[in-house]
Symmetry: C2
Subunit: 439 residues, 2 copies
């Protein structure tokens, strides 16, 4: 029984089928879509993706035909009875409740946009960005003639991507962030580069300004009102773990479902994967909640192998995230300064400016690389990159080096690819390693 | 005393100066330029780089002013007297010979294009690609009205890059390769993708066709003559180690100067770095000759630290190389199938087709990833990537994983960056790791 029809649940199916062609698989999805890309929503709203259907990776029918999954759409699991080994399921369209027994269950209830308890938060013109139903409404709003001013509340990844999307639609966009920086997973100095790029792109970025409530046509803030035909919430994603918690499964950080390295919950034969559950951060060793499609797919694959009778573990995350906002590429991995301090590391930071092409080629792109390294050993704890074309995916080298436990002196010798269209002879990542190792 | 004014020699200077501001540094360069980018020559000839001067990273005067190096241009070192600790130097312009004592010497005589002993090889219209003097002549030829047909002999990196450069100048280009594939450092199946791209771009690629000699206006081959107003040699680069060898320094693979991990030659106080010397391949553990600016810079940095009284070692190479030819990005690292077999590994190969963007974004780019893995352990021995935009620099993840000794099961969990403009939710590198680990 799979509870949730997106990546965290459905990526397990092909793994189960490899070893257990006989197993009966039932999947419950309360919404209208299976396996869609929430990450693609800003590109749909911004006009880069043609139609909503393109964001659907696999339809319910494909799961039925290819993997013989009994996919029940518009069915919401409302309780997991661990003693009776039964699910209580609400058929939303038929308005009736079923009870179904299970041998094994996979909890993949996903995440949900954080909605602060503010006056007017449930108004028609205040929208979250999570489901394809949200996407459909945002898209129709974005193309309406009478929509002029959009206020995005919250400076996380989705908030920033949505802000850009609406500018691409020709709208006036204001981003309101209560904290003193956007993208809290970056250090303030790197986040400042992002704000500069956003402002240059025409987004009105207001830092240290908290939304206090919503009225028709406006956002109330602590320093005056902002006009808004539409408000988009980009405050973050919380685990949607209420069902698991009510059912007696252990939860941990941010109430995310606690899982073992095999993705098993505190109950035997009950697994969890995706945005509803925890991961272990490889550097800090601590549980974290990271709502990302990559992590959901990896966890679900592991859960699927184990459900099918195999043995697999998930090694954990290093917190890699990348995006492109307003022609600026942004990437981070490992621990930021704040996270390193929280985890008790004595660390040092190094910031360098480099280039993603040979000096003499036209259209050379600038990039800033920051490394956070352990003071005593030089071990790479984390890295951040902000730059132009070719900058962001360089984070993958840092993510791999963090995973391998490399120190910056070892990194200097990394035999990275060099050719004039791709890199200077010293890749910016290696320049940063050299400076960090002080030789 | 630095013997050779390009990267292998001059990158050491700044390291020496850090610890030894007092040391007298003399550099001898037989040519007209210091520290230039030979890798940039195809982009100059093809028209992407405006002027030859842009390929010079640092002029002799900059070395004199910034690092107080006594740079002697057009001076060729003709002997190293290890017993007397003296260099014999020919001042080419003045036509006289000097003898100068040294405490420490850095041999950085570089590489030289392979010139097979064929009739007519020394003709005016048969050119190598190595120095900026070569570049100057090739550039003036490329823009001449009476130049129509170019034949490139040899399908290595430089040969392919030069072939593209001349097509970009509107010329008819034929590439003649004696072997049955281009780019011998790739496996044949991956090299075939490159040939397909070159042919689509309009380059006439003739495989298994050996040049037998050169006459005015033509290249003689074993299967008939080819018209050629200009012949460019792209057969490869050999270490320019005659001086070292004659002076009694040990040489190794392909007669490259043998060095320790500290870049010391067989003689005390005599160091070597760059295209003239060997590196150790981290996977095979064997000495290799790899003529690349990145390696030269790294080795020279290590030599400089040691010359200055510090202690540094070079960890070796994994044979990473990337290029972009005819809109196709090509990358390789670690061991190819042939190299893995030569090194005695029992290996398995995995080839997958992936994409460098989310499925639903327009302009999605295809990429082919091949992994060579050790059969018993799954350890990554090498990888090759051929694809469109965003393909080549993904080799850096493989190079880092090879360096860290990762196996493909560990690689599946690598927390690589994901966002729709950069990657599908499973990066092609991870897709390859999954298939290679067969789960």
């Amino acid at each position: 029984m799979i509870i949730g029809g997106d990546a965290g649940g459905m990526a397990a199916v092909s793994q189960v089928r490899k070893t257990r062609p006989d197993m009966e698989i039932v999947a419950f999805e309360r919404g209208h879509y299976t396996s869609y890309s929430a990450c693609g929503i800003p590109y749909l709203v911004g006009g880069e993706v043609g139609t909503l259907d393109e964001l659907v990776a696999r339809t319910p029918q494909e799961f039925r035909d290819r993997f013989r999954v009994d996919v029940r759409m518009r069915h919401e699991v409302i309780a997991i009875d661990l003693d009776a080994r039964e699910l209580e399921v609400r058929a939303l369209e038929q308005d009736r409740t079923l009870r179904l027994g299970f041998d094994q269950a996979l909890v993949a209830t996903g995440g949900m946009p954080v909605r602060p308890e503010l006056p007017g938060i449930d108004s028609e013109h205040v929208r979250g960005v999570q489901t394809l139903d949200d996407a459909k409404e945002l898209l129709s709003l974005a193309t309406r003639d009478d929509l002029h001013r959009v206020v995005v509340v919250g400076g996380g990844y989705i908030g920033l991507e949505m802000a850009e999307a609406f500018v691409n639609r020709g709208l006036h966009v204001t981003l309101v962030e209560a904290g003193d920086q956007v993208m809290r997973s970056l250090d303030p100095d790197m986040a400042a580069l992002v704000v500069a790029a956003m402002r240059e792109f025409g987004i009105d970025v207001l830092l240290g300004r908290a939304a206090a409530g919503f009225e028709s046509g406006r956002v109330l803030t602590d320093e005056g009102d902002l006009e808004a035909d539409l408000v988009v919430l980009g405050i973050g994603v919380a685990p949607n773990s209420a069902l698991a918690k009510q059912s007696g499964l252990d939860v941990g950080v941010q109430d995310a479902v606690r899982v073992s390295r095999r993705q098993q919950t505190s109950a035997d034969g009950v697994w969890a994967a995706g945005d509803c559950c925890e991961s272990i951060h490889r550097v800090s060793g601590r549980p974290v909640h990271i709502a990302l499609g990559t992590v959901a797919n990896k966890q679900s694959r592991v859960a699927g192998i184990n459900i099918g009778g195999g043995y697999a573990t998930f090694g954990g995350v290093v917190g890699t995230a990348i995006t492109r906002i307003c022609h600026t590429e942004i990437a981070r991995t490992g621990l930021s300064e704040r996270e390193a301090a929280d985890a008790g590391f004595v660390f040092r930071s190094t910031v360098i400016e480099g280039s993603t092409r040979a000096r003499y080629l036209p259209g050379r792109k600038r990039t800033t690389v920051k490394l956070v390294t352990e003071e005593r050993t030089g071990r790479l704890l984390g890295g951040q990159i902000v730059g132009e074309e070719g900058a962001a995916k360089r984070i993958d080298v840092l993510a791999t080096a963090v995973t391998a436990g490399m120190n910056v002196t070892e990194m200097i010798d990394l035999d990275l690819g060099y050719a004039p269209p791709f890199s200077p002879v010293w890749d910016p990542v290696l320049v940063a390693a050299r400076v960090a190792s002080r030789t």
